[in-house]
Symmetry: C3
Subunit: 159 residues, 3 copies
């Protein structure tokens, strides 16, 4: 186990929880930690490209995909979302207060060398293809997560 390694499982695809995950990840990376974020289930939506990509999908995969937010700019809040109004309000307030937006935090994470891994098994279940996710992502399963968690001193599940 190293003092300077952290892992985060990002299970949630809610804006507020995604913000918390990236604020922790970027803070740790800025302080010299090696950080790995594992995006699984709804958390994969954070990594989706804003524009639809032409990929072959079954009807159910397409249905599932169409019901989920497409990327960091489309996420809702876990509470007080009111059909997206709450998320818009929070983003407006964050801009006013000069707090980084989620897309900025993601860019920052990549610049800081935070490793972002998409869970290949959830991608399969949810019918999400690598082409639909932003660049700079790795793909792996639970064994990779566990190997990294074993070496880390802080492991969080953002659910």
């Amino acid at each position: 186990m190293q003092q300077n390694k952290k892992t985060l499982i990002v299970f949630s695809g809610d804006l507020d929880k995604a913000l918390a995950a990236f604020i922790i990840a970027n803070g740790a990376a800025a302080m010299g930690s090696e950080v790995t974020m594992f995006f699984t289930f709804w958390g994969l939506n954070i990594l989706r490209r804003a524009k639809g990509v032409h990929v072959k999908k079954s009807f159910l995969e397409r249905l599932f995909g169409s019901m989920m937010p497409r990327g960091a700019n489309k996420l809702g809040l876990s509470k007080l979302n009111f059909g997206g109004l709450g998320a818009k309000l929070m983003k407006f307030i964050m801009k006013q207060k000069n707090v980084n937006t989620l897309p900025e935090l993601i860019e920052q994470a990549q610049a800081l060398g935070v490793k972002m891994v998409a869970c290949s098994m959830s991608m399969d279940v949810m019918g999400i293809r690598p082409e639909e996710l932003i660049e700079g992502i790795e793909y792996a399963g639970v064994a990779t997560y566990l190997g990294e968690a074993d070496e880390a001193n802080v492991n969080l599940f953002i659910g």
Copy 2:
């Protein structure tokens, strides 16, 4: 602290989060870790037997119990559940893709020696009796959890 011990608090009773918890737990156990899962609050619903069991309960306990899902096959999704339709859809897709179902993962966990502990205090509050839970479960409180977490190198809260 041992390199090969993990604990998971399973607070959530949502199908998607329960799947994540068991995939992590079973993966760790398969890789040689000692794993303990603590089921508390809504997480207790994962362990409920599908069939109602005759036990003495107060009116409120009975009311509470009747509003909560009875076991791993009845859980809903934390998002896009649409009154159970989302959960059915996800189970259908998982079957198509040959991914293990939650009841299979629970069986697998027991075969792998994952220790499953039900939180006795939440059982008391929610009016759930040991007879209502599946076999092979232990019963303990927060002190037991903390003792195990102190010996583990990965501790997650699945909330």
Copy 3:
């Protein structure tokens, strides 16, 4: 890293998750651990005073504040809340069973020396002022959290 230090990020402002957080925190403190709880986003609502306090706020801050529960007695359940009825029912049952209420658990935490820290960045975003929170709280950011997590052997995210 010390065997006897724990940190909890309390992101959720739901009654059930707040109860779980304080039961873990107080249990650990009673068993001799140094415990720090970081309250962020919705978790800040747990620390709000029941009575409104006269502070200068923008219209949006006031709006946001008015939609969120004011303190430990006003929180809802994450499931089966039914507009507060579920939370009332759970509090009634807990009283019947002589389980500590959330306000009692908070008092107990303070008596046991649990350090309670409010996230200054979320306070800024959500427009919550220090005067609006209960006494005995510290204020800090993510760097402080990470410093403490590095020294702890159990770190949980209650989301």
